[in-house]
């Protein structure tokens, strides 16, 4: 098992002919991801690294058995690309770009729900199920197959945690880059049921940060629906107030909404183990005896 991507993932890369698209196509192929099609408008008929390129997602869907798409597309074209993938019927769409306008994501978020599809990102490293497949740009060498499902708003904090986990012999079932924006395509709350239902996942790590209310909403769900142990870290506790910390979503409002204190309190009440540092996550995982 694992979630979202695995050995059965047949991937479309939107923006495959771009510099990043081509580079990461090769990285993903080397990792074992089945890349079945690329899409770049106007470049239909070409091939990139042995992958056929189509003008539209619709044509790629007609001529291949793709079931997932990843977008290496600039921020201002991201919503258009995600809409195209959703309209063509893809159930899972992963988007990488940083600085996607939040009003664009408002549209994407609601359309994905109307279609019953899942959008991951933006401002995300993608999704990796170690040893099986990856869709995104994460440095895959640090990941190891295993039993811990991980989801993170930050790429660097996720890498740091995974690196220490792998060194400690604790592998991962799937790692999802939820992304650092104000409106993620999928929230912690949306992903929890997938990890809960996944046989391979024995524990869940959630790397949150200040800003918004996703950790609180996740806590509500965990309290009533999640039986697996959950370990959480909230980054940005000591960030200056009222300043967006690089991630558009990481900002504490003047009334304290989005503060680390509120989040930790809600998570503790739901029985979640709170780690103070990335290293602390690994210590807690060790003590869980998975």
């Amino acid at each position: 098992m694992s979630i979202l991507v695995d050995e059965n993932t047949r991937l479309i890369i939107q923006g495959i002919t771009g510099r990043e698209g081509t580079f990461h196509c090769e990285q993903m192929q080397q990792y074992g991801t089945k890349v079945v099609a690329g899409v770049t408008p106007g470049k239909g008929g070409e091939t990139v690294l042995g992958v056929p390129v189509f003008n539209t997602v619709r044509e790629a869907m007609e001529q291949t058995d793709a079931n997932t798409s990843v977008l290496f597309v600039p921020a201002l074209y991201t919503a258009d690309g995600v809409y195209e993938a959703l309209e063509a019927g893809l159930p899972t769409v992963i988007t990488i770009a940083e600085h996607v306008p939040v009003h664009d994501m408002m549209g994407v978020y609601h359309m994905a729900r109307a279609k019953g599809a899942r959008v991951i990102g933006p401002n995300s490293f993608g999704v990796i199920s170690p040893g099986k497949s990856k869709a995104g740009f994460m440095a895959h060498r640090i990941f190891r197959p295993g039993k811990v499902g991980l989801m993170s708003r930050s790429a660097t904090n996720c890498y740091e945690t995974v690196f220490m986990m792998s060194n400690a012999g604790i592998g991962q079932s799937t790692c999802v880059g939820v992304g650092g924006d104000m409106i993620p395509g999928s929230t912690f709350r949306d992903l929890l049921p997938l990890f809960e239902a996944d046989d391979e996942t024995k524990a869940i790590v959630m790397i949150g940060e200040i800003g918004g209310s996703e950790e609180e909403l996740a806590a509500e769900y965990i309290g009533s629906h999640v039986t697996k142990p959950v370990v959480a870290l909230i980054a940005g506790k000591n960030a200056p107030k009222g300043k967006s910390m690089g991630h558009a979503g990481a900002i504490v409002a003047a009334d304290g909404t989005g503060s680390a204190e509120n989040k930790e309190k809600a998570l503790r009440a739901a029985g979640v183990h709170i780690a103070e540092t990335t290293g602390g996550i690994v210590e807690i995982l060790k003590s869980l005896d998975l």
Partner: protein, 384 residues
């Protein structure tokens, strides 16, 4: 990005929202130029991107030109929570009978716009939310249908508005919503929304916050913003595509890393050891040696920064490039401040060879060891 009040008022005006558009001045000479066209009593307001200017003395009234001069003299150059006042807005003081609060913002829970209304206007909404939450009314907007009349009816009923006022509120909600959508706003706030002597609604003060990621689509706002003064280090960093964030003015440590999440984690770890970060610089992904050299120079340009911690978890960013950049900064700019470096990931081994001969660079194997080294250095004596 928050817009100045006068720019918010200008947007309200353009969208047909009745408001109290004023004249903007930056000097006494400019006030002199308006001498014959001002209406009294006048209200003179500091234009700064922070709240609490009334309490700080940044809002004054004038009954005549002499008083306007005195107010201008008092407010220009004033420091309000670290913001120096460079512009004032002077407008006619309107007499009003009632004040409300109205805004539309992005609701991060529902991922929809939400209208917020209170019959108690004029005060800080966060304060009101804390003290009288029962006086705040919310109406989430389905983005497929936008602002509708029933929302105006709901708010009007809570405030006891007359029928013509309700009709005016409905038009105002639609206009405010159109502004919110078309200008990719995170917040459009009218506080207070007042009833004037004729019984009509008027926006007396406003705040508009625009999504930074959408600025490329909003050339009018981007051009106006480019005229506003910014912190020179923030600006210089931005020119190299780095994000410089001034943190606690009392701190003496700077943090450089290759991602927002890691910057936050570093600040948290440093705080755990009782130390304070003064500024941070986010390299983003894939920075090259020549850019990193400039990053080191920029972050150390503030003389109050005495220690630098560079924490790199290299994926797209190559540790070897960062090491060359640090070496370059030391050699070219003669930097002598202690620099603690932590490398992990892509090309770590090459990077370690590069920094080995550098005297003021201390290597730490791991985030925690880096923070501990910082702590030892601070307690064990100053190298600078």
């Amino acid at each position: 990005m928050d817009l100045m009040e006068y720019r918010a008022q200008a947007l309200f005006d353009r969208y047909g929202i009745p408001c109290n558009v004023g004249r903007v001045i930056g000097s006494l000479e400019e006030l002199e130029g308006l001498r014959d066209s001002l209406a009294y009593p006048a209200v003179i307001k500091a234009q700064v991107k922070t709240g609490g200017r009334g309490k700080a003395g940044g809002v004054r009234f004038a009954e005549n030109y002499e008083e306007a001069v005195a107010a201008t003299r008092a407010i220009l150059g004033m420091n309000i929570k670290g913001h120096i006042v460079r512009k004032l807005m002077i407008s006619e003081k309107r007499s009003v009978t009632r004040e409300f609060y109205l805004s539309v913002m992005l609701d991060r829970g529902t991922k929809c716009p939400v209208f917020i209304f209170s019959p108690e206007g004029g005060m800080d909404i966060e304060m009101l939310a804390k003290e009288q939450p029962e006086k705040i009314f919310r109406a989430v907007v389905d983005p497929r249908i936008g602002a509708q009349g029933y929302t105006a009816n709901y708010f009007a009923s809570k405030a006891g508005l007359t029928k013509p006022q309700t009709k005016q509120l409905a038009a105002l909600l639609r206009a405010l919503y159109r502004l919110f959508i078309e200008k990719n706003c995170l917040l459009c706030e009218i506080n207070p929304l007042a009833i004037n002597d004729e019984g009509g609604l008027i926006a007396l003060d406003g705040k508009v916050s625009v999504d930074d990621s959408a600025l490329v689509r909003l050339p009018d706002i981007a051009a106006a913003e480019a005229e506003e003064p910014v912190d020179p280090l923030v600006k210089e960093a931005a020119d190299f595509n780095f994000l410089y964030i001034p943190c606690e003015p009392s701190g003496d440590i700077a943090v450089v890393s290759n991602g927002s999440g890691m910057i936050m984690s570093c600040i948290d770890h440093i705080a755990k050891y009782g130390m304070t970060v003064r500024a941070s610089l986010d390299l983003g992904g894939g920075a090259t040696a020549d850019r990193i050299r400039e990053a080191v120079r920029i972050i150390l340009a503030d003389p109050a920064i005495r220690y630098l911690f560079i924490n790199i978890f290299g994926g797209i960013t190559r540790c070897s490039e960062v090491a060359l950049g640090i070496k370059g900064a030391i050699e070219e700019y003669g930097i002598a401040s202690p620099i603690i470096v932590r490398f992990e990931g892509t090309n770590k081994e090459i990077a370690l060879e590069t920094i080995k001969p550098l005297k003021n660079v201390i290597y730490a194997d791991g985030l925690i060891s880096g923070v501990k080294a910082l702590c030892d250095m601070k307690t064990g004596g100053d190298l600078k």
